[in-house]
């Protein structure tokens, strides 16, 4: 059985959506697990991946955890940035697409495309 797409991101989401660019996507903390719990789960799942007979099941779990980790990291970062700028009336934060140099945007776009290829490959 192949992998299913995570429900919290549509398959055709752009890399700006995927990486929670400000100001287009502001999210809360949709997950019950914190970063430490997700990290522990990732470590355990990577260990289980060495057991070949459970590979498909563990691959699915690992990718799901990795996406949750990414979302948690970036949600926390959004909150941090907005918290810092909430203390002033004279400065606003930049849009992510302006703050990040082009060479960083290109890397993020490559990585987003890679994620699509990887999930398709895992489902074969």
């Amino acid at each position: 059985m192949g992998l299913t797409w995570p429900w919290w991101f549509p398959k055709d989401a752009t890399y700006e959506d995927f990486f929670h660019f400000l100001p287009r996507r502001r999210i809360g903390f949709p997950f019950e697990m914190g970063s430490a719990e997700i990290r522990l789960e990732i470590t355990n799942t990577e260990r289980l991946l060495k057991m070949a007979e459970r590979e498909q099941e563990e691959l699915s779990a690992l990718l799901e955890m990795r996406l949750k980790m990414k979302d948690t990291q970036l949600s926390e970062f959004q909150v941090l940035l907005e918290d810092i700028f909430s203390r002033t009336q004279y400065f606003n934060h930049l849009d992510s697409s302006v703050a990040l140099p082009q060479r960083f945007l290109e890397m993020l776009e490559r990585l987003h495309s890679l994620r699509t290829s990887l999930v398709e490959h895992m489902g074969e």
């Binding site: 203390r87 890397m107 495309s113 890679l114």
Partner: protein, 130 residues
């Protein structure tokens, strides 16, 4: 002020330049300090050498690690960009006749970026992308 470039300082500060100057500069310095402190939480760990990916399991593990490093790098570079921008905003604000005083070329994260791109290239090769 150069109208073409992006800035963090807003119109409220610019309109009241004389009256609010000390407040604006104090706010700016305070934000820069907060941003600098936050940089410590977004350091990309020492990356391992880019290795050839040979299996689905290795690809999934490597992709996850690259994704985590990329998210940290995104945050780190965003913080650095805000620090650069606010410092430049404050310089122009306090010396409005100075035009663009300094062009900051910041390539501190370029080595990490290059390594991430190498790791992405290896994953692309395994997946037959390109």
């Amino acid at each position: 002020m150069n109208p073409s470039r992006q800035r963090c300082i807003n119109s409220s500060a610019i309109k009241n330049r004389t009256k609010d100057t000390p407040d604006v500069l104090n706010d700016g310095r305070s934000i820069v300090e907060d941003l600098k402190v936050s940089l410590r939480d977004y350091q990309v760990k020492e990356q391992t050498e880019s290795a050839i990916v040979q299996s689905r399991a290795e690809a999934a593990v490597e992709f996850g690690r690259v994704l985590e490093d990329a998210a940290v790098l995104l945050a780190h570079e965003t913080l650095r960009s805000h620090i650069r921008t606010i410092n430049r905003d404050m310089k122009e604000y306090s010396e409005p006749d100075s035009e663009v005083l300094f062009q900051i070329e910041d390539h501190a994260n370029d080595a990490i970026l290059e390594r991430l791109n190498d790791r992405i290239t290896n994953l692309e090769k395994y997946l037959g992308v390109q």
